[in-house]
Structures are given as C-alpha cells and as structure tokens.
C-alpha cells in the first residue's frame, strides 16, 4: 500500500496520506484526525499516524481537550439538571446530556439527585459532530458496572495521551507498582480526568502526584520514581 512510509510517523496537518484512486474496491475506516477530500485522505491533526490491520487508520495525539467518541468511559462534572437530562461537562467542545433514566433500574420514581459539581463516571453513548454528546451510567447490557457518582477522593486533570497510557493493557508500570504495595482506587476518564481515592490523604497525594509526573518518563524511570515514593511513604508511616 502506498502509505507505508507514513504509518507510525509524525504527520502534520495538510499531509496527504492515502490516495484513494489507487485502491478501488477496499473499505477503509478513518478515525480521528483524518479527513476525506475527494480522492485523498488528508491529515487535520498533528500526531502519529496509526494503522490497525486490515483497514483502520487514525492519528494519535495527546491534547488537553477531548473529542467525544462513542464507547469511551469519561469522568464528567454535573453543571445543571433538567427534567429529563443532566447537563454534564466532559471537557469537549459541547456539554453532554445524561438522561435521567440511564441508570440501572432507573424509573421516573427513583431519579438520582446530583448536585452541581458532582463527579460521575459515565460512558459516551452518542457522539455526533455538531450535536451534544449523550452519556449513560450503564454499560451496553443495562448493568451499572462501576458507572455512577464517585464519592470522596481527589480528581485531577491530565492530557488525553496520559489517560490512554494509564488504561492500556498490560497495565502501566505506575499503577502496577503502586498496586503491589498500597491499596487505592483509581478511575481514569479518556477525556483527561483521573480520580484517585485511598484510605489516607497522604496515599492519595502520592499516587496523584506520581501519575501527573509520569507523563514524560520512560518505563524504567517510572519504576524508579515509584520505588522512591514508596520508600518515603514507609518511612513516614
């Protein structure tokens, strides 16, 4: 294929990466950052071009703002409530709607009450350009599955690239190393928000700071940093 030289390479807006006139009968799926202009696929975001065989292309980049896409788990903050929707901010270009009945066993009689500023772990159900995204607090089969309000803990913002790194499998070294020694809860939203909760505030602070700092470190450096932090924690407790 003619685009081999661009896959996994840095591409800049304006680059033409695929020539459709040379591939007549193939279906290609385009993800974020790519746009079709008549016969050519051109880049609209700076980042790395990625290919998932056989035919999915997208541009991977890390920003502070989030582009809503379906089936993403995100952390939203309630900004308003209407009779049939909660208005939730998910760091995207438009606020998102969370229907009042989109909870497990939700009926008109047991509508949850969220005050303004409540933090929710939700799933994006619809994300069409130009429309407000729609959210849900259940998974695809209707079960609650950890979605819903997050109580206590501490929420901080990070870039979308860091949230993707925290969610990948095998698990990222920071979470693995911390998980072996201390117990804590973490919720990662693909929109660049992370929530951490633990029994004592010092644990929460250590985990949160470590995650924030790990963005620019390599795997080995992350492990070294975690070991140092854990040593400090053991000395002080």
């Amino acid at each position: 294929m003619s685009d081999n030289q661009f896959v996994d390479q840095l591409v800049v807006p304006g680059d033409v990466v695929l020539d459709l006139s040379s591939m007549a009968n193939q279906t290609i799926k385009l993800g974020g950052g790519l746009r079709q202009e008549s016969d050519a696929i051109s880049v609209t975001k700076a980042g790395k071009l990625r290919l998932s065989k056989p035919n999915k292309y997208w541009v991977e980049s890390s920003q502070k703002r989030y582009v809503p896409s379906v089936e993403d788990s995100v952390l939203g903050i309630v900004v308003d409530s209407r009779s049939d929707n909660f208005i939730v901010d998910i760091k995207g270009p438009a606020v998102a709607f969370l229907p009042v009945l989109a909870f497990e066993g939700g009926t008109r009689r047991n509508i949850p009450k969220f005050e303004v500023g409540a933090l929710l772990y939700v799933r994006v159900v619809k994300a069409n350009p130009g429309m407000n995204p729609e959210l849900s607090c259940t998974d695809a089969s209707g079960k609650a599955a950890e979605f819903g309000p997050l109580k206590d803990g501490y929420m901080f913002e990070c870039s979308t690239g860091l949230s993707r790194m925290l969610l990948r499998s095998p698990p990222c070294p920071i979470l693995e190393a911390f998980g072996k020694k201390i117990s804590f809860e973490v919720a990662v939203g693909l929109n660049g928000r992370v929530w951490v909760n633990a029994a004592s505030p010092s644990t929460v602070i250590i985990v949160a700071n470590a995650i924030m700092r790990s963005e620019s470190l390599s795997v080995a450096q992350q492990k070294i940093m975690v070991e140092k932090l854990l040593q400090n924690l053991n000395i002080s407790t």
């Binding site: 840095l10 020539d19 920003q63 703002r65 620019s216």
Partner: protein
C-alpha cells in the same frame, strides 16, 4: 541588489528559530516562538460551547486577542487581530465543531522586527505553518516597503504527481495572506514572493522537527 545587513546576514538568511510547545499550564494549547530576538507567546483555549450573537452557528468562531509588549491596545493591534483571524478562518476547517468558540491569545514578548505572524499554534484544530520575510527592527525602519506573506505548509504527499492542484497551480505555490506596507514595484513584489516561498520550505522542515519529540509510545 546586495545590501550589507547590520548583523552580517546574507539577504536570504533567516534568523535562528526556536519553538517550544505546551509552555503554559492552564491554556489548552500554547507555544512560544522566537526568531532571533523577536519572541511571541501564543495560547489557545477551546473549542468551547457557544458562539457570539452575530456569528454563524454552522461554523466555529475564532477570536483573536493580540497583546503588545507595552502600551495599550490600539488600532494596530486591532489590525493584527483581524488579519490573524481571517488567516485562521481560511486555514482551519470550520465545520468540524459547529457552534463553538476558539480563543487565540498572542502576547508579544520582545519585538525586534517582523513580529506579525510569528506564531506557531499547536492545538487540536487544523493548522499549518507560517512564514514571513524576516527583517530585524532596524532594517524594518529603513525599508521602503515590506510585505507580510503567509504561505501554506509544504506537505508530504503520497499522490504520484505531487501536491493537489488548484486551478492548474500547485497548491503549495498558493498564498494565504499578504499584507503590504509602503510602495513597491510589481516586480519587487513577485521577487519577495519567490524568496518567501523558498524560506517557507525551511520553516516547514523546522516545524516538523519541533513537533517530533512526542510522548513515548
């Protein structure tokens, strides 16, 4: 026409370029760009929901604020803002996020000539590289006339015949914005265009290199 420049540069030579991204904590995107002693800081916020009253809700509204190094904002700042806004509107694909507002703030940190358009904006929207002819402040004051020219980024293309063509002309040879001050002959203007285009290639290569160190993996 060979001129001896004060700092010893040849007529075609640009000053050293530096660019760093993500310099501001709170801004959604930011970068600092310097060419010799001229330095500019740019911040981008958005896209945020909602547009202003008179703007088209089918498109993204781009607002530009230009802050000079000293003094109050006056007519020349408004002019820069308008030029930059028009340039960005013609570059960005405005229909991607309709009914949103993107705010661009330019702060001039140090002005040693050629300060306009010395902006490299990195954020989620579609942007391309900018270039201008590069006079230092003293040279600017002496010059009879100078144009500010904005060219499209040179693209890496897979198409066998090269870049897409618009009306028979290569799109790379097009020009996005041209603002001129002073009086010059038509031949001189075309001469400036050619020199600018040649410098554009170097700027584009620099832009690509500066975007290179991304997150590992």
């Amino acid at each position: 026409m060979e001129i001896d420049r004060i700092d010893g540069r040849t007529p075609n030579q640009l000053r050293p370029l530096t660019c760093s991204r993500n310099v501001l904590n709170r801004a959604h995107g930011s970068s600092s760009w310097s060419q010799g002693d001229t330095k500019v800081l740019a911040a981008v916020y958005g896209p945020k929901a909602g547009t202003k009253k008179n703007e088209n809700p089918e498109k993204t509204c781009i607002e530009v604020i230009w802050k000079p190094k000293t003094g109050q904002t006056g007519k020349s700042e408004r002019e820069y803002e308008m030029i930059l806004k028009r340039t960005l509107q013609s570059i960005c694909i405005l229909t991607v996020n309709p009914n949103t507002t993107t705010l661009v703030i330019i702060q001039v940190v140090n002005d040693d000539g050629a300060v306009s358009f010395k902006v490299a904006i990195c954020c989620g929207l579609a942007e391309s590289g900018y270039v201008i002819l590069d006079p230092a402040k003293l040279e600017e004051q002496k010059m009879k006339a100078f144009p500010y020219l904005v060219f499209p980024n040179s693209v890496l293309s897979v198409l066998p015949e090269g870049s897409p063509k618009v009306e028979g002309e290569l799109m790379e040879n097009g020009i996005i914005t041209s603002v001129t001050q002073g009086a010059m002959a038509v031949d001189n203007y075309f001469h400036c265009l050619e020199r600018g285009r040649a410098a554009n290639e170097k700027m584009s290569a620099f832009l690509r290199r500066s975007l290179q160190p991304q997150l590992p993996g």
